[in-house]
C-alpha cells in the first residue's frame, strides 16, 4: 500500500475559522473535503502539503436549500450520493443528479463532495502515477519535470478536466461562492476554470468554495452523458452536458452544450448552440449542432481508449444528448 506523507491536520469548526486558518498557513496548507481526490494524489506525491485543513466539521457545508423555481443553494460539503438521490435535483436538475451518480463507486460517492469534485485536479495518465513511475520516466512539467510527455514540443500542460459535475454546472449556468478572510465573491462556474492543465482554477489560494448556486430550473431541461470503458468506477473520457429551454412551439430559446474531459477546462460549444437557437430540434438541426460541437473536442493520448475513438464518438454522444430532448418530448 502507498502511504500518505506526514502532515498536520487542522479541523476548523466553521467557515470563518477555516478561512482564517487558510490565510494564516498560506501556501503550506491545502483544503480537504472528502479527500477522495487529494489523498490518492498525496500518496503518489503529487502534493505534499505540510498542513491540511479539513472542511468536514463545517456544519453549513452540508446544507441544501431553495427550490426549482427560485434556484438552489448546495453546500460545498454535500456528498455526491446526496446529490444523486436528491428528489428536487432528480426532478428539476436531472443532469446534475446523473453526473453526481456517475462518479466513481458508491463508497467514494458517500464521502466525495461537490466542492471537491468541481476543484478536482486535472488528470493525465502520465501524471496520475506513483512517484516510482514518474521518476522512472523522468517526470513531466505538471509536477517535478520540464516537458510535457504527451506533447513534448508543447510549452503547456494538457491535463484533462475530468470532473463529472463540472460540465453540468457550467451548462446549468451555476455559480459558486468563494470565501476568504478578504471577503467573498460569487463567480459563474464557467469562470472558475482556465485553460491550463497545471493551474486549472481561477480561485485564489486563500479562497474556500462554500456553496454552489443553481439558477431557477423553470423552463429548463438538462441531460448528461458520460463515456468510459467501465460502466462503474471510471472517470469520464468524454462528458456531454446540455441544458435547454424552448418556447411552446419547440423553438429553442437558449441552449448550452458543454463538453467535459476533452480539454483542461469544461468546453462550452458556443457555435453549436448558436446553430440551434431560434430553431426547432429536428434530426437535421441536431446533426448540424453535434458536428459543430464535436469539433471542439480535441483529445490527446493521455486518457483511456484511443484519441481517434474519443474524438469520433463525441459527435454521437452530443447527438444523443440533444436527441434526448426530442425523445422526452421537450416541448412543455
Amino acid at each position: 500500500m502507498l502511504r500518505l506523507p506526514p502532515f498536520q491536520y487542522l479541523a476548523p469548526k466553521n467557515l470563518a475559522e477555516a478561512a482564517h486558518m487558510l490565510s494564516q498557513e498560506g501556501e503550506r496548507a491545502m483544503l480537504v473535503a472528502g479527500g477522495t481526490d487529494l489523498y490518492p494524489n498525496m500518496k503518489r506525491r503529487q502534493f505534499t502539503p505540510p498542513v491540511l485543513i479539513g472542511l468536514r466539521g463545517i456544519p453549513t457545508f452540508k446544507n441544501i436549500s431553495g427550490s426549482a423555481e427560485e434556484g438552489m443553494h448546495i453546500g460545498a460539503g454535500v456528498t455526491l450520493t446526496t446529490l444523486a438521490e436528491h428528489p428536487l435535483l432528480l426532478a428539476h436538475y436531472p443532469a446534475l443528479a446523473t453526473a453526481a451518480g456517475s462518479v466513481s463507486t458508491p463508497q467514494l460517492r458517500n464521502v466525495g463532495t461537490i466542492g471537491g469534485n468541481l476543484l478536482l485536479d486535472t488528470r493525465c495518465n502520465y501524471y496520475n502515477q506513483t512517484e516510482f513511475w514518474r521518476h522512472s520516466i523522468g517526470y513531466c512539467m505538471k509536477k517535478d519535470g520540464d516537458i510535457c510527455l504527451v506533447a513534448p514540443g508543447s510549452p503547456r500542460c494538457w491535463a484533462i478536466s475530468s470532473a463529472d459535475t463540472a460540465p453540468v454546472l457550467v451548462s446549468l449556468g451555476a455559480s459558486v461562492r468563494l470565501v476568504s478572510v478578504r471577503g467573498e465573491r460569487i463567480v459563474p462556474v464557467q469562470d472558475l476554470f482556465r485553460d491550463d492543465g497545471i493551474h486549472p482554477y481561477t480561485k485564489a489560494t486563500d479562497e474556500i468554495l462554500s456553496e454552489v448556486i443553481l439558477p431557477s430550473a423553470t423552463g429548463w431541461q438538462s441531460v448528461y452523458l458520460k463515456l468510459r470503458r467501465r460502466g462503474s468506477f471510471d472517470f469520464p473520457i468524454l462528458g456531454v452536458a446540455v441544458s435547454l429551454s424552448a418556447s411552446e412551439d419547440g423553438t429553442v430559446s437558449e441552449v448550452r452544450i458543454v463538453l467535459g474531459a476533452v480539454a483542461s477546462y469544461p468546453v462550452v460549444a458556443k457555435d453549436a448552440a448558436t446553430l440551434l437557437i431560434g430553431q426547432r430540434l429536428t434530426p437535421e438541426t441536431i446533426e448540424a449542432a453535434s458536428t459543430s460541437a464535436a469539433r471542439r473536442a480535441k483529445p490527446l493520448d493521455n486518457a483511456d481508449l484511443t484519441m481517434n475513438y474519443r474524438k469520433q464518438v463525441a459527435t454521437v454522444y452530443i447527438r444523443r444528448a440533444l436527441s434526448h430532448f426530442l425523445n422526452s418530448n421537450y416541448i412543455k
Binding site: M1, R3, N125, T130, I137, R230, L305, V313
Partner: protein, 842 residues
C-alpha cells in the same frame, strides 16, 4: 433456491456431506475480518523492507552506491545482487532470475536493491539516497521487435536471438489430413496479456531464529502469500544456501492468486536474507504497482490456425502456431508454451495435429500462469476460428462442435488419456437454458423483416443483440510434477484425538478457492463425522505433508484422493473396534453425523468419541496418512509429452448474450450461461463460486483488461486505470453444473477453478460477431476496436479488425518431432488397464 441448485440434476449420490451446498469452513473468519493474511502479521522487533526497482526497461548496471542510505539512522541492512548470487526460477529448466539484479536489468520493475529499516517512512527516505548508475540498452517491447532484433540479447537463456523456447510437433499425418478436407481456413488471432489482479497484494514476513549451537546457524520461517509454499521452500533454500530442513514456509490466508502467486519471488528471498542479516523479522508488502510488475500473468500470444474440415463439419486436420511474449524471464514460460498447443486435442477429436510454438523474451515483466494457464489464448482462437468455419459452411456452430466432440475414455492424437467427458451434456444444457435456438430463429425473422420494410429507420435502434457459444476443456492437475520424481503429488495426514477432535494436515494451499474446506468435507464424509470437530492445518512446510501447490487445478483431485485414502485407514480401525463392541460384522457398519450404527438395526450405535477411545486403547495413537500420485500411461512417449497429461479433464461450455451499439462500438455483455462438467461437486456452492469467478474473470479479459506498455513502462499499473470488472459491471451469470462422476476423481469430482474461464472469452467474441457482423480477432474487444472494425467494414476494408501476421521463421527454429499415436495407444491401453488403482482412488 439458488440458481445453481435449480440447474443441478437431482443428487443421485449416496453422500451426506459431499454434494450439499454449505459455507466454507473459514467463511466467518473472512467476512468478519478475523482471518490473518501475510500483511496482518506483526512480530516483536519487526522491520520493514522494500525493494528498489529498475526505472529502465533494459540497462547495464554500472554502479550501485548505497553508502548514503546505509548511514541514515534507522536503516539496518541493505543488500544488492552480489549478496544473493545464486540463480533461481520455478522451473528447473529456467533458472534465470536473481533475487536482485546482477550486471543488468531487463524490465522496469526488475529488483535491484533491498533495504530493511525501522519503519516505512525511513524506507522512503533511504530509497532516495541510493544511487544506481545505468547504461541504457535498446528495449524490445513486443513479439515483433524481439524477432526483428536478435542482436539485442535480453536473456542468456535464449539460444537463438530472443527465442526462449521453440517447439514443433506433428501428430499423425498432417498433409494427409489436409488432403482429406473439403474446406480449409486460416486465421490470425492476438490475445493481449493481462494481470491476475488478486485483491491481496503479495506480502511476506521472514523470521530468522539464530541458534549458534546449530552448524547452520539457525532456522528461517517465512509467512508469505503464495500458492506454492513447497516450491518457495525449495528455492529459498537454494538461494540462501540454507538446507530445506532449516526452512519453514507457511501460507497464511491468501487473498487470491489466480496463478500470480505461484512463483518464488525476489521479495520473499530478500525479506529472508534481510532477516538473517539483522536477526529481526522483516516484512515486505508489495504495492499494487509492484503486483503489476511482478506479474507472471497471462502471456500475450499471437496465433495462427489452419484447419481442414469435411463438408459435414468433421475436422480432418489442424495446424496451430503460437508466438508468446514472455517478458524478461522464464518463469513458467516453457510450460506455458507447451500449453498453448497441448490441449487443442482434448475438446474435439483431431485425426492429425501439428503444433509449432515459440516464446520470446521482451523487456517487460515476466509472464507466467494465469487461470487457464497457456490454454486460454488458444482456446479463444480455436473457438472463434471454428465459429468462422461453421459460418463459412453454413452449419450451426453448435452442430459443428457436436460433430467433433472427443469421446469419453479415449486417447487423443497427441497421446493424452481422456477419462470422463460430459461435453455433449454441457452443450445441450447451455443451448437449452440460454434459449439459443429461439434466439437465433427470432434474429433471422427480425433480419428478414427489416429487410422487407427496407429498414424503416425510426424503428431501428443502434443496439444490436447477439449470442455466441464456445466449448473448452481443462486439466484436473498436471500429470507430471515440476521436478520429475517418483514422489507423491499430494499427501494428507489425519490425527484422531481421544477428545474426539480430528486434525487434518495437508500442504494444500487455500487461496480462496476453498481447498481447506474440501479437505474437511471429504474427511467428514469418510469418517461420518460433523465438520465442526475437524481442525485444519494446511500449507506449512514444517507441519504438513507436501502438496505441490494450488496450480493446474490439481488440489481437489489430488489432495482429495489423498484425504480419502488417509481417512479410510482410520475408518477401518474405528469400525474394527466398533464391530467388536456392537457385536456386528464391520461390513454392516455405517458412520454418519458422529455416530456409528448397524445398518440393519440402526438402534445399535456407538458414538464417534467412544469409538476413537476404544481404537486408541487398542492400536495406540491414531494417525494415518494417504497420498496421491497420478497414474502412469496417460501420455505419449515423446519429449515434451509431460505438459498436458492429467488424471482427468473437466469440460465447459458457455453462451454469451451481448448488446453492441453499432454507432459507438460499446459492448454490454448481458448474460453468460455456463455449463461445467465437474464430475461430482464436493460442495456445489463452491463449484458455482468458481464457475462464476471464471465467468467474471473471462468477461473482464474479453472486453476490458489490458496489461499494456508505453515508452517501456506499464501504462496503467493501478486498479483505477487497469480495467478490472467490478461486481457492478459483471453480467448476470447462470451456472449449470453437470455431474457425471469421474472414475478416478475423489467421489467422482473434477476441477472447477480454471476450466470455466476458457469458453467465456470466445463465446463473447462470437456473440459480438453475431450482433454486428464484424470480427475483432483481438482480445480484449474494446469499444474503440469494434468501432474501428465497423468503420472498416462500412468502408469496404474487410470483415473487421484482424491482427497483423507475424512473418513466420522458416525453418521453424527447432527440430520437428513426429509422433504416431497408433503405435503407442494399444500399448498404453494394455498398460492402463493394469495400472494398479492409486491409493484412495475410487
Amino acid at each position: 433456491m439458488s440458481k445453481q441448485e435449480q440447474n443441478r440434476a437431482q443428487p443421485v449420490h449416496p453422500y451426506t456431506i459431499v454434494g450439499t451446498p454449505r459455507a466454507k469452513v473459514d467463511a466467518y473468519a473472512k467476512v468478519t475480518g478475523r482471518a490473518v493474511y501475510a500483511d496482518d502479521i506483526l512480530l516483536p522487533r519487526m522491520l520493514y523492507g522494500r525493494i528498489l526497482r529498475s526505472p529502465h526497461a533494459h540497462a547495464r548496471i554500472l554502479s550501485i552506491d548505497t553508502s548514503r542510505a546505509k548511514k541514515l539512522p534507522g536503516v539496518l541492512a541493505i543488500i544488492t545482487g552480489e549478496d544473493l548470487p545464486q540463480k533461481f526460477g520455478i522451473l528447473p529448466s529456467s533458472q534465470d532470475e536473481y533475487a536482485l539484479a546482477i550486471d543488468k536489468v531487463r524490465y522496469v520493475g526488475d529488483p535491484v536493491v533491498a533495504i530493511a529499516a525501522l519503519d516505512p517512512d525511513i524506507l522512503d527516505e533511504a530509497i532516495k539516497l541510493i544511487q544506481v548508475e545505468y547504461e541504457l540498452l535498446p528495449a524490445l517491447m513486443s513479439i515483433d521487435e524481439a524477432l526483428a532484433h536478435p542482436e539485442v540479447k535480453i536473456n542468456d537463456e535464449a539460444r537463438i536471438g530472443n527465442i526462449h523456447k521453440a517447439v514443433s510437433y506433428e501428430f499423425g499425418e498432417i498433409e494427409a489430413g489436409f488432403a482429406e478436407a473439403d474446406y480449409i481456413r486460416e486465421d490470425w488471432f492476438y490475445y493481449e496479456g493481462n494481470n491476475h489482479a488478486p485483491l491481496e497484494a503479495h506480502a511476506c514476513v521472514a523470521q530468522w531464529e539464530p541458534n549458534p549451537s546449530d552448524p547452520i546457524g539457525g532456522k528461517l520461517t517465512l509467512w508469505t502469500s503464495t500458492q506454492t509454499p513447497h516450491y518457495v521452500h525449495r528455492e529459498l533454500s537454494k538461494v540462501l544456501g540454507i538446507p530445506q530442513s532449516h526452512v519453514r514456509v507457511i501460507a497464511p490466508h491468501v487473498g487470491g492468486g489466480f496463478g500470480g502467486k505461484s512463483d518464488p519471488f525476489s521479495h520473499e528471498i530478500c525479506a529472508s536474507e534481510l532477516s538473517r542479516r539483522t536477526g529481526r523479522p522483516v516484512k515486505i508488502t508489495c504495492t499494487r504497482e509492484e503486483v503489476f510488475l511482478l506479474h507472471r500473468g497471462r502471456h500475450p500470444v499471437k496465433m495462427w490456425i489452419k484447419t481442414g474440415v469435411r463438408r459435414d463439419g468433421s475436422l480432418t486436420a489442424m495446424h496451430f502456431r503460437s508466438f508468446l511474449d514472455g517478458g524478461a524471464y522464464g518463469s513458467y514460460g516453457i510450460a506455458s508454451t507447451y500449453y498453448t498447443g497441448a490441449l487443442q486435442t482434448v475438446t474435439y477429436t483431431l485425426p492429425c495435429y501439428k503444433f509449432e510454438g515459440m516464446r520470446l523474451f521482451t523487456n517487460k515483466p515476466p509472464c507466467g500462469p494465469k487461470r487457464g494457464h497457456g490454454t486460454t489464448q488458444p482456446r479463444y482462437a480455436v473457438e472463434v476460428h471454428l465459429d468462422k468455419i461453421a459460418f463459412d459452411l453454413g452449419i450451426d456452430p453448435v452442430e459443428l462442435r457436436r460433430r467433433n466432440l472427443i469421446e469419453p475414455y479415449s486417447y487423443t492424437v497427441n497421446g493424452l488419456r481422456i477419462t470422463s467427458c460430459a461435453l455433449g451434456e454441457c452443450l445441450d444444457r447451455v443451448v437449452e437454458r440460454s434459449g439459443w435456438n429461439s434466439f437465433h430463429a427470432d434474429k433471422q425473422i427480425v433480419a428478414a423483416g427489416l429487410h422487407a420494410e427496407n429498414g424503416a429507420s425510426s424503428a431501428v435502434t443502434t443496439v444490436k443483440r447477439g449470442m455466441g457459444l464456445a466449448a473448452s476443456s481443462y486439466i484436473c492437475g498436471a500429470g507430471k510434477p515440476i521436478y520429475w520424481n517418483e514422489l507423491p503429488h499430494s499427501a494428507v495426514q489425519i490425527r484422531l484425538d481421544r477428545s474426539g477432535g480430528v486434525t487434518v494436515y495437508c500442504g494444500a494451499t487455500d487461496i480462496g478457492q476453498g481447498s481447506t474446506s474440501i479437505l474437511a468435507y471429504i474427511v467428514a464424509e469418510e469418517l461420518g463425522i460433523q465438520i465442526g470437530r475437524i481442525h485444519l492445518q494446511t500449507a506449512d512446510t514444517a507441519l504438513t505433508p507436501v502438496d505441490l501447490g494450488s496450480y493446474s487445478s490439481r488440489v481437489t483431485f489430488m489432495a482429495g484422493n489423498a484425504a480419502i485414502a488417509a481417512a479410510r485407514k482410520l475408518k477401518e480401525q474405528l469400525f474394527q473396534v466398533a464391530a467388536e463392541r456392537m457385536q456386528v460384522s464391520p461390513e454392516r457398519l455405517y458412520a454418519v453425523n458422529d455416530v456409528i450404527y448397524d445398518e440393519d438395526d440402526p438402534g445399535v450405535t456407538l458414538s464417534f468419541e467412544h469409538a476413537v477411545q476404544f481404537a486408541e486403547a487398542r492400536f495406540g495413537a491414531l494417525v494415518a496418512a494417504g497420498s496421491y500420485t497420478p497414474p502412469e500411461g496417460i501420455h505419449g512417449d515423446y519429449k515434451g509429452a509431460g505438459v498436458g497429461p492429467s488424471p482427468a479433464y473437466s469440460y465447459s461450455t458457455c453462451v454469451a448474450q451481448v448488446a453492441v451499439d453499432e454507432e459507438t462500438g460499446e459492448i454490454v455483455v448481458e448474460k453468460l450461461w455456463l455449463a461445467h462438467d465437474v464430475g461430482q461437486s464436493i460442495n456445489p456452492l463452491l463449484v458455482a463460486g468458481q464457475v462464476e469467478g471464471g465467468a467474471y474473470m473471462g468477461y473482464g479479459e474479453a472486453v476490458m483488461e489490458q496489461q499494456i506498455f508505453r515508452k517501456g513502462r506499464h501504462k496503467i499499473p493501478s486498479l483505477l486505470d487497469y480495467k478490472l470488472a467490478t461486481t457492478l459491471d459483471t453480467p448476470e451469470i447462470e451456472t449449470i453444473l453437470v455431474e457425471i462422476p469421474d472414475r478416478e476423481g475423489p467421489f467422482g469430482g473434477k476441477e472447477a477453478g480454471q476450466g470455466p474461464l476458457n469458453p467465456v472469452i470466445p463465446a463473447i467474441a462470437n456473440a459480438v460477431y453475431n450482433a454486428v457482423g464484424v470480427r475483432v480477432d483481438e482480445v480484449p474487444i474494446t469499444s474503440d476496436k469494434v468501432f474501428k472494425a465497423l468503420r472498416n467494414q462500412s468502408q469496404g476494408k474487410g470483415m473487421g479488425l484482424q491482427p497483423s501476421p507475424i512473418e513466420t521463421p522458416s525453418p521453424w527454429p527447432t527440430r520437428l518431432i513426429k509422433w504416431q499415436p497408433e503405435e503407442h495407444q494399444s500399448a498404453m491401453k494394455r498398460q492402463s488397464d493394469h495400472t494398479s488403482l492409486q491409493e484412495g482412488v475410487l
